[in-house]
Each structure stands twice: as C-alpha cells, then as structure tokens.
C-alpha cells in the first residue's frame, strides 16, 4: 500500500527554468511533509519541509506547496541549476505512539540540462 506517490519517475528541465516535482499522498493522518535530495552513492539529504497548518514554505530557490484537500504537494525549484540534478524524494510523517515515522515516495530523478 503506497501511501506516498511520486508518479513521475523522471523530469528533465533546462537550466534557468522552473522545476516542478509532484507528490500525492493518501493517508489523512500525515501532518508534516518533507523533501529530500539524493545524489548517487550518497544518503538522502533534507531539503525543505512543510507543516500541514501551512500551504507554502519557501527557502531560497526552493518552495514547497501543500494542498491538503487534494492531498498533494509540490516542490518548485527556480531557477534550476545543473547541481540540482539528483533524485528527489517526497516524505510524509504521522505520529505513531511516541514516535513519528517517515513514509517516502519512490523518488523523481531530476536532470537539469545546459
């Protein structure tokens, strides 16, 4: 049962343009959402997050939008740079007892071309 879905396995964007990565979730108990970035042979690194009480969070070139009614979030990168080429994982969190658990999507591979 895949509770977090990233339906686009890959995305190619030209340098300087906007990259939009999408993520859908099914579990209404999720109340915190994160994006992680992963380079080959490395572990995922945290990029940006958003609480369910907000609909937008911005950090430099990265903005995450949350649409709770649609159970959809997106990551916007503008302008895209070649160093942004990586796999981006969407993750969602819900409390489990005294701990919380991250549920990850399968990732979207972003390639930023010159």
């Amino acid at each position: 049962d895949q509770q977090v879905k990233q339906n686009s396995p890959s995305l190619s964007v030209q340098e300087g343009r906007i990259s939009i990565l999408n993520c859908d979730y099914t579990n209404s108990m999720f109340d915190y959402f994160l994006w992680y970035k992963k380079y080959p042979a490395e572990g995922p690194t945290f990029l940006i997050s958003i609480s369910s009480i907000k609909d937008k969070n911005e950090d430099g070139r990265f903005t995450v939008f949350l649409n709770k009614s649609a159970k959809h979030l997106s990551l916007h990168i503008v302008p895209s740079q070649p160093g942004d080429s990586a796999v981006y994982f969407c993750a969602a969190s819900a409390m489990t007892g005294t701990a919380s658990k991250l549920t990850f999507g399968t990732g979207t591979r972003l390639q930023v071309t010159l």
């Binding site: 992680y36 572990g43 690194t45 945290f46 919380s100 658990k101 991250l102 990850f104 990732g107």
Partner: protein
C-alpha cells in the same frame, strides 16, 4: 568529519550467511534509524531507537536484529540472509524522535546476497 557513517559500504555474501552493518553518528543525536531501499526504490523504515530504546519496529523478519550499544551507534545484524534481503540499507539519526527533527542519513550499505 562524517556526520553519519556506515560500514561496510558494500557487502556481497552468500545466502544463509549472517552479517552485520554498523552505523555511527557524531552529531550528538539521541534517535537513530534503519531504512531499507529495495530494488523498486522504496525507502522504508525498519527500526528506530531513541536513547537506546526501540521506539519503531516495522514488520521486519526477526532475522533482522538491531542493537544500540549507546546513543551514537546503531548496528543491524541479519541472520540467514536471503536473496530478497539484497538492497541498500541506510542509517539515519535525528535529535528527537518526531518528524519535525531533520533526519541525517548515512551513505548507505549496498548488500548483495548471492
């Protein structure tokens, strides 16, 4: 000054063997995690320890046994390895066991069972 380190980075072994993967973090965090990324790229949590206490234990075969000798270490021992155990195993750590705390990942251990 690696924040979260894992050893070994690569592990090739035969079915039926027992192997261990070690994880250490020097961030002073109190919570550590093991994740498994399978061939379909799903990144799923297996275990989480907070102050050496098990707080998350997903549906994982009991051939997998985590051990946390102290807050800075979380090891994963796997008995009677099976072909399906082939995956990339990531260790992570955070300060606190809630999702609001960023999880820092190690580089992963690539396990191949022949």
């Amino acid at each position: 000054d690696t924040a979260v380190s894992q050893t070994p980075k690569y592990l090739v072994t035969q079915m039926g063997n027992d192997k261990s993967i070690k994880c250490e973090q020097n961030l002073g965090h109190d919570t550590m995690y093991w994740y498994k990324q399978d061939s379909k790229k799903f990144l799923k949590i297996m275990f989480s320890y907070n102050n050496k206490e098990l707080i998350i234990n997903e549906t994982v075969p009991n051939r997998f046994s985590p051990k946390s000798p102290d807050k800075a270490h979380l090891n994963l021992h796997i008995n009677s390895l099976e072909l399906g155990d082939s995956a990339v195993y990531f260790c992570a750590s955070s300060q606190g066991g809630t999702s609001r705390k960023t999880q820092y990942f190690g580089p992963g251990t690539r396990l191949l069972v022949l």
